[in-house]
């Protein structure tokens, strides 16, 4: 039960844009190198040096789940993830249309929808990411860590403001 509430955390500032996550995702799931089969995808703005890995957020109130006409999508609370039941799925791609993150993919080769399944609790994108731009953390810790980061920025800004006042 230790893994309950663990989430995939993206810190895009750390991402080097190498796309190893895309490669290992496709190899793990399909035994194939092809980013079109990857559940995670790094969006890039090369001319700005900006790289943002995008993957499923495993929403609580998931739009893909709500829109599915045959109830093929459900939440798996053990691993806090949203799963597709391919025995029920009719391949209508309504889920692809409604996902606000573009995280529900349509694989044109096998002609089926694919999404992140957190590799059953051992996400390979995380395992291979040396920078930990993609990480797998307890949801409680995520907000604590973010609070700490934000607090540090506030404290730094305060010190800089004080220095400016002192200079004036």
């Amino acid at each position: 039960m230790e893994q309950m509430g663990k989430v995939l955390v993206v810190n895009y500032e750390k991402c080097t844009g190498c796309r190893l996550c895309e490669l290992v995702c496709a190899v793990k799931h399909d035994g194939i190198s092809n980013p079109a089969r990857s559940r995670i995808k790094v969006m890039k703005w090369e001319q700005e040096g900006l790289y943002i890995p995008m993957s499923c957020q495993q929403c609580q109130d998931a739009p893909c789940m709500n829109v599915c006409p045959v109830k093929a999508i459900s939440r798996d609370e053990d691993l806090a993830r949203v799963m597709v039941d391919y025995d029920k799925c009719i391949g209508c791609r309504s889920c692809v249309a409604v996902c606000p993150f573009g995280a529900m993919n349509f694989n044109v080769i096998d002609r089926k929808v694919i999404k992140c399944d957190l590799c059953d609790g051992d996400p390979q994108c995380v395992r291979f990411c040396d920078m930990k731009a993609v990480d797998y953390q307890d949801a409680t810790d995520v907000s604590i860590l973010k609070k700490r980061e934000a607090a540090k920025k506030i404290s730094l800004a305060g010190k800089q403001a004080a220095a400016l006042v002192a200079q004036a």
Partner: protein, 647 residues
């Protein structure tokens, strides 16, 4: 399956395109990448063809492991006859282009002919189209790539382009992809320009089946740990290649003022830590970027600081080579000069190393009075003049003025235009300028540059780990595998003994990695613990199913190196020719090093010892005393009947 990947023959004159499989027999003999390119070059170009004529053939390839689970399988190799040297032209770049080409169904392209007007080749899921590039011609490296994406309406397209330098037939123009991934040296961008070929664009979503995916993934994890646990790669991953600048400069291994000194007197301004302070978005743990699948992430990112004309421009690097080319050789060790020059060469698409080296050569000629204000159109081309460095980059890439136009032809043709004794001051091998490194204190490294197949070059066989003074048992372990060696080895980098074998070993090591399509930072180049033949044998099997022993991979490398030699000999290489030979500039033998560490000061390359070392290396390679492969060596390697036209 990687072994299903195709080869395409594209004729730009007629528009004819033929797509063929790559026979397994050919894969086993040459693997892919640079090795197979060398075979294709020998088979598909006519002897003595004009490098910028339609008969020259341009090979574009990924390695056999391209896009697979083997860490940094991103390398793209481009080969043709070089417009700079008239011999073998070859370059290698990272980025995301060759994996995209592999997902589009191709590992190798053979491009000949010349298009009637500017075109680009578009490769999409097994299909190839030649498209109009008249609107893209003239654009810079990055602008051209974004224009192609807009033209195709797909932001995921990856292109390999030539910049304005290639269009203007600067003989050392690069092929480029991304912001600064550069296939530099020997002018492959110039060959593109001469064919009216602005770019090759790829987009692919085709499967490459991994032979043993579970094992491949697990071995890759171990492989990556081996690579990233090396201190050298951790440092590269934090501040990039400039990490070696300080150390190399302090012991006296940096060419300064062309070849007058072997150390830059004050160079703290261009140290990576200082660049980090002054340039925004620059180096540091969260400001590095990498090529496909690579966990070393050695490329820094920066925006040019200050209020100058280039302030705020984004670029990647600068690499160690730019530090040497625009700061060391020209004696202008200032951060802004470095960042701006690096940006300009990336946008023009020209070899930083060659252009910086030629500018510093021209500076020495100017100071000696061999060229004057008449040739420079009034430019004060003195060492230490930062503006002159920037101005000369523009002039050369645009072929402006006498000197800009002359230098754009390359060192040897320029020395003929300038005349007098200018050639004596040109620091080159086979017509290609040396890296900014000074090898007078390191005979092994000097042997490496003189023998490199594409002209003076550090990436063909440099035994860089020689500088670490490794213990004998470590050297023995590395250099006695995968083929036995019980000759002498010395841990002392200033020695001559055993270096011939080390150069031979590294030559095969680097050829093997170029055939596989993996980055050299992932091999025994800068770190003694990094992977080599034994690891590649496994990684190759898990990914492709191809079973080659470490010794068989070594033999592939030997075979491919001999193919390159055969091409060079066919195109006029002769061992003692000062323009096309395995020789160093006389200054290596005549002028002792003046600065640096005590064991380096006063050193030069002793000619008799060096000649002995070269002869020894020929012998290791199975060549005769003239540097020509012996018939029995070629027979042993199965290339005694070339051209054999297997593909």
């Amino acid at each position: 399956m990687a072994l299903d990947s195709k080869i395409a023959y594209i004729d730009l004159t007629t528009g004819d395109i033929q797509i063929k499989p790559i026979p397994l027999e050919v894969r086993k003999k040459f693997l892919g990448g640079r090795g197979l390119d060398a075979y294709l070059l020998y088979n598909h170009t006519k002897k003595g063809c004009d490098p910028i004529g339609p008969d020259n053939t341009l090979m574009v390839s990924g390695g056999i492991l391209c896009a697979m689970a083997a860490s940094a399988t991103s390398r793209c190799h481009v080969m043709a006859k070089s417009p700079l040297t008239g011999l073998l032209g070859s370059c290698n770049m990272g980025g995301f282009f060759s994996p995209e080409m592999a997902w589009a169904g191709f590992n190798h392209l053979v491009i000949k002919g010349k298009a009637k007007h500017p075109v680009y080749i578009y490769i999409h899921n097994g299909e190839i189209e030649i498209r109009d590039a008249r609107d893209i011609w003239g654009r810079t490296v990055t602008d051209a790539q974004w224009a192609i994406r807009d033209d195709l309406g797909d932001q995921e397209v990856k292109s390999m382009v030539c910049g304005p330098a290639g269009e203007n037939l600067v003989t050392y123009a690069n092929v480029m992809t991304g912001i600064k991934n550069a296939g530099g040296r020997s002018g492959m961008g110039c060959v593109m320009g001469s064919k009216n070929l602005k770019a090759v664009a790829c987009r692919g979503t085709m499967d490459i089946k991994i032979a043993h995916p579970v094992e491949a993934l697990e071995f890759n994890k171990r492989f990556i740990e081996q690579i990233t646990s090396a201190k050298v790669n951790q440092t590269q991953g934090t501040i990039g290649t400039p990490f070696i600048w300080g150390a190399t400069n302090s012991w006296g291994g940096i060419r300064c003022r062309n070849f007058q000194y072997n150390q830059c007197e004050y160079a703290d301004d261009i140290e990576p830590e200082h660049l980090d302070e002054i340039a925004t978005e620059t180096i540091g743990p969260y400001h590095m970027t990498g090529c496909f699948g690579c966990q070393v992430h050695c490329r820094a990112q920066y925006k040019i600081p200050g209020n100058g004309p280039y302030a705020g421009k984004y670029d990647e690097g600068p690499e160690y080579t730019s530090q040497g080319a625009f700061c060391g050789e020209t004696d202008t060790p200032r951060a802004e000069t470095l960042l701006v020059s690096n940006h300009l060469v990336d946008q023009y698409g020209v070899d930083n190393l060659e252009i910086g080296s030629l500018i510093s050569w021209a500076m020495e000629l100017y100071e000696l009075g061999i060229i004057t204000n008449k040739e420079t159109d009034g430019l004060e081309l003195r060492f230490g003049n930062d503006e002159a460095v920037i101005e000369m980059i523009h002039r050369i890439c645009q072929r402006k003025g006498f000197l800009g136009d002359a230098l754009a032809d390359g060192g040897i043709p320029a020395s003929k235009k300038i005349g007098k004794n200018s050639f004596n001051y040109l620091i080159q091998v086979k017509g290609m300028s040396n890296l900014h490194s000074d090898e007078r204190g390191t005979p092994g490294l000097a042997l490496n540059i003189s023998l490199a197949s594409r002209g003076s070059d550090h990436l063909r066989s440099r035994p860089a780990i020689d500088l670490y003074h490794l213990p004998q048992e470590v050297m023995r372990r590395i250099y006695s595998n995968p083929v036995p060696y019980d000759g002498p080895l010395s841990s002392e980098h200033t020695e001559y003994i055993g270096k011939a074998w080390q150069v031979f070993w590294h030559e095969n090591c680097y050829m093997a990695v170029d055939c596989l399509g993996i980055c050299k930072y992932h091999t025994t180049f800068l770190g003694a613990t990094l992977p080599n033949f034994e690891d590649w044998s496994k990684v190759l099997f898990y990914n492709t199913g191809l079973q080659l022993t470490p010794k068989e991979i070594w033999e592939v490398a030997e075979r491919c190196n001999n193919m390159e030699r055969l091409f060079n000999l066919r195109e006029g290489l002769s061992k003692d020719d000062p323009e096309k030979g395995d020789v160093l500039n006389h200054r290596y033998h005549d002028e002792p090093a003046r600065r640096g560490a005590p064991e380096v000061v006063g050193r030069l390359i002793e000619k008799d010892k060096w000649l002995k070392m070269r002869a020894e290396c020929y012998e290791h390679k199975g060549w005769d005393e003239n540097g020509i492969p012996k018939p029995e060596s070629l027979k042993r390697l199965g290339i005694d009947n070339e051209p054999s036209h297997l593909v």
